[in-house]
C-alpha cells in the first residue's frame, strides 16, 4: 500500500499546491471593486496599497488559517482515532474563542492591532483557552478511549465555553461588537503581522507532526499494538494535543470561528488517497488551506462590494459536504 499510496500522495500534493497558488492569484484580483487585474495595479499608488497591504495578506492569511485548521483536524482524528474528532467537537475552538474574549475584556482593543506583540498576546490567550478546553474535555471523557464519551464531553465543553463567551458579551456590552464579528469569522482584518505569525506556527506544527507521525502510524493499528511497539505513547500524545491546540488557537485568534474546515479537510484527502499519517496531516493542511481560500474568495465575490462572513459560508459548504458523505455512505451501506 505504502509505495503506491505515496506515489499518489505526491501528485495530489502538487495539484493542491498549484490550485492554492491559482486561487491566491484569483483572491488577489477579487475585491470590493470587483475583478481587477493585479498586474495593472503597478501604476497606481492606492491600488498597489490595496493589493499589497490588504488583499495579499488576507488571502495568504486565509490559506494559513485554513491550513492550520486542516492540520489540527487531521491531528485530532489521528490522535483520538476517531474520524469525527475535530477542533470544534473537542471544544478547543470555543475554548480559544473564550480566551480571546477574556483578552478583549481585560485588555480592551480590537481584534487585529498593528503591533506584533498584541498579535502574540491574542494568540497566546487563544492557545491557553484551547488547551484548557481540550484538557477539560479529556478529563470529562476520562481519556480518549470511548468515542461516545469523548464526543459528548466535547459538546458539553463547547456549549459551556460558548455560554461563558456570551456571558462576557453580556457583562461588557462595549466588547460586544468586536466579539460578534469575531464569532462570525472573517479574514478581512488580517495584516502582514498576523500572516507571518500564522505561517510560522503552521510550519512549526507541520514539522512537529511530520516528525512524530510514526507514532500516529503505530496508533492507527490500535492502542495496545502501539504500546507493544515501544512507542512513548503518553508523551507524544500530549505533545500532539498541544500542537493541535496551538494550531486551532492561532487560527481562531486571527480569523475568528471558522467552522468545518478541520473536520472536512482530512475526510476529503482520505477519500482521494490512502496514505500514512504523516502525509495525511500535511495533505490535510494543504486541503484546508485551499478550502478556506476558495471560501474566502467566494465570500468576497458573492455579494460584492459587501462581504459575507466567512464562517457562515464554510458552515454551509462543510455541512453540505458532510450531508453528501452521509448519503453516499448510506446508499453504499458501508457505514
Amino acid at each position: 500500500m505504502s509505495l503506491a499510496a505515496s506515489r499518489r500522495a505526491l501528485p495530489l500534493a502538487i495539484t493542491l499546491f498549484c490550485l492554492c497558488v491559482l486561487v491566491i492569484l484569483i483572491g488577489i484580483s477579487v475585491g470590493s471593486s470587483g475583478f481587477v487585474n493585479f498586474l495593472d495595479a503597478w501604476h497606481d499608488d492606492v491600488s498597489w496599497q490595496i493589493i499589497w497591504d490588504i488583499r495579499i495578506p488576507r488571502t495568504i492569511g486565509a490559506f494559513a488559517a485554513g491550513a492550520l485548521l486542516g492540520l489540527a483536524g487531521a491531528l485530532a482524528q489521528a490522535v483520538f482515532r476517531n474520524p469525527l474528532a475535530d477542533p470544534y467537537l473537542l471544544g478547543s475552538a470555543s475554548g480559544a474563542a473564550f480566551g480571546v474574549g477574556l483578552a478583549f475584556v481585560f485588555f480592551g482593543g480590537s481584534l487585529i492591532a498593528a503591533e506584533i506583540l498584541v498579535q502574540i498576546g491574542l494568540t497566546g490567550a487563544a492557545f491557553v483557552g484551547a488547551v484548557g478546553a481540550v484538557l477539560l474535555t479529556l478529563l470529562l471523557a476520562r481519556g480518549v478511549q470511548h468515542t461516545m464519551r469523548l464526543l459528548l464531553a466535547g459538546i458539553i465543553v463547547g456549549v459551556v465555553m460558548g455560554a461563558a463567551t456570551s456571558m462576557l458579551m453580556f457583562i461588557r456590552p462595549d466588547a460586544l461588537q468586536n466579539m460578534q464579528g469575531f464569532l462570525l469569522g472573517s479574514t478581512a482584518f488580517v495584516g502582514w503581522s498576523s500572516c507571518w505569525l500564522m505561517l510560522g506556527v503552521l510550519i512549526f506544527c507541520a514539522g512537529l507532526s511530520w516528525g512524530l507521525s510514526f507514532v500516529l502510524d503505530a496508533l492507527s493499528l490500535g492502542e495496545s499494538t502501539a504500546l507493544s511497539l515501544g512507542v512513548p505513547l503518553k508523551k507524544v500524545r500530549t505533545l500532539l494535543v498541544l500542537a493541535m491546540a496551538l494550531a486551532t488557537g492561532t487560527a481562531v485568534a486571527h480569523t475568528g470561528l471558522v467552522a468545518f474546515i478541520g473536520l472536512v479537510a482530512p475526510h476529503i484527502v482520505r477519500s482521494i488517497v490512502s496514505v500514512r499519517q504523516g502525509s495525511l496531516v500535511l495533505l490535510s493542511a494543504l486541503m484546508g488551506g485551499l478550502l478556506l481560500l476558495v471560501a474566502d474568495v467566494l465570500a468576497r465575490a458573492v455579494l460584492a462590494p459587501e462581504e459575507l462572513p466567512i464562517g457562515v459560508l464554510t458552515a454551509f459548504l462543510g455541512g453540505g459536504y458532510l450531508l453528501f458523505l452521509l448519503n453516499r455512505n448510506q446508499t453504499q451501506e458501508s457505514l
Binding site: 475585491g31 490595496i50 490588504i54 464579528g181 482584518f189
Partner: protein, 304 residues
C-alpha cells in the same frame, strides 16, 4: 508622508514673511486631538475627504455644515438626504477595509467599538474614534470634529448652543399636567430599556418625565418583564415593530398604560432619530414631548 509635508510647510512658514504665512493657515496648521480611545490623533491639514462609519458622526459632520466633505459612509447612515447616494463602506462589525482605502480619505471617523480601527490605522489612514453616548458626549463630539475639520471653536459652540436652546424650548412647551409621568422606553424587544443615564433618559429627564429605570441600572439595561409590570409606567414608548411582541408578554396586556392605550409607537424613521446620540437630539426631544403631551391629556380626561 503627511508629516514630512507638514514639516516642510512649517519650515516654509518660518522662512517666508508672516504675511505670506497668514495666507495659508489651513495648510500649515496641525492639530492634535484626543479621541474616545484616549489616543492622540494628529491631523496635519484640514481634511477634505472624510469617511464616516457611524450614523451619529455622519450627522454631526453635516450639522457643522461640512456634509460636502464626506466621500463615504457606513450602510446605516441615511440622514441628511444629501449623503444617501454616497458609496457605502459596510458597518461597524464589517467595515470594508478595501473600499475605504480605495477612497483615499484623509480622515476616517468611526466608533471606538467598531472593528478594524487599528487595521485602518496601520494602513496609514488617520482614524478618529468617537462614540457619543450622552448629551455631554454630543457636545464634546461636536467640538472634536469641529477642531478636526479646521473650523473655529465658535462654530461648534454655536451649533451646540442652538441644540441646547432647542431642547430648552421643547421642555418649556410641556404643560404641567404632562410632567412627572412615569415612562418606560423600550429600545429592543429582548427587552432592553433606556435607563436614566442613557441619552434617551437624559432627554426624558429634561422633559420632566420620570424614568422607571433608574441610572443605577446602567444605560441600556436588560429588563425583567416583571419589573415593568411592578413599576406600572404611565406611558410606554416603543418602536412600532416591537409592539406585538410586547402585547404577547404575560401580564403586559393588563398594564394600565396598555389598557388605556397610553403607548406611543414610533416609526422606523422616528426610532432612528431617537436612538442616535447626535445633532438630531432636538427632533428626538420633540417626538418624545409630543408623546408625553398626547398621552397625558388622555390621562387627564380619563381621571376627572
Amino acid at each position: 508622508m503627511l508629516k514630512s509635508f507638514a514639516k516642510r510647510g512649517m519650515v516654509c512658514a518660518l522662512l517666508l514673511s508672516w504675511s505670506f504665512a497668514c495666507l495659508l493657515p489651513n495648510v500649515v496648521r496641525a492639530v492634535v486631538l484626543r479621541d474616545d480611545r484616549q489616543m492622540d490623533v494628529t491631523i496635519s491639514k484640514s481634511p477634505q475627504r472624510i469617511v464616516s462609519l457611524l450614523p451619529s458622526l455622519t450627522e454631526t459632520v453635516c450639522a457643522l455644515g461640512q456634509c460636502s466633505r464626506l466621500v463615504g459612509v457606513d450602510r446605516y447612515s441615511n440622514w441628511p438626504e444629501s449623503i444617501v447616494k454616497l458609496p457605502r463602506m459596510g458597518g461597524g462589525i464589517d467595515p470594508n477595509i478595501e473600499s475605504i482605502v480605495a477612497l483615499k480619505p484623509d480622515l476616517v471617523l468611526m466608533a471606538t467599538s467598531a472593528r478594524g480601527v487599528e487595521r485602518l490605522q496601520s494602513l496609514g489612514l488617520t482614524v478618529l474614534a468617537l462614540e457619543p453616548k450622552n448629551h455631554a458626549d454630543i457636545q464634546r463630539t461636536l467640538r472634536v470634529i469641529g477642531q478636526a475639520l479646521g473650523l473655529s471653536s465658535v462654530d461648534s459652540e454655536r451649533t451646540w448652543q442652538a441644540l441646547d436652546a432647542g431642547l430648552r424650548e421643547v421642555s418649556q412647551s410641556i404643560p404641567n399636567y404632562a410632567k412627572s409621568q412615569k415612562v418606560y422606553f423600550e429600545v429592543s424587544p429582548v427587552p432592553y430599556g433606556a435607563g436614566a443615564s442613557s441619552f434617551i433618559g437624559e432627554t426624558l429627564q429634561r422633559l420632566g418625565a420620570q424614568n422607571i429605570l433608574p441610572a443605577s441600572m446602567g444605560a441600556f439595561p436588560q429588563v425583567n418583564p416583571e419589573f415593568v409590570v411592578r413599576a406600572q409606567p404611565d406611558i410606554i414608548m416603543v418602536g412600532d415593530s416591537n409592539l406585538s411582541n410586547m402585547l404577547a408578554r404575560p401580564g403586559w396586556k393588563k398594564l394600565t398604560a396598555m389598557q388605556s392605550q397610553r403607548v406611543c409607537t414610533f416609526t422606523k424613521n422616528e426610532s432612528e432619530v431617537l436612538s442616535r446620540p447626535g445633532p438630531r437630539m432636538v427632533e428626538a426631544a420633540r417626538i418624545m414631548a409630543k408623546c408625553l403631551i398626547d398621552k397625558s391629556s388622555q390621562l387627564q380626561k380619563a381621571s376627572p
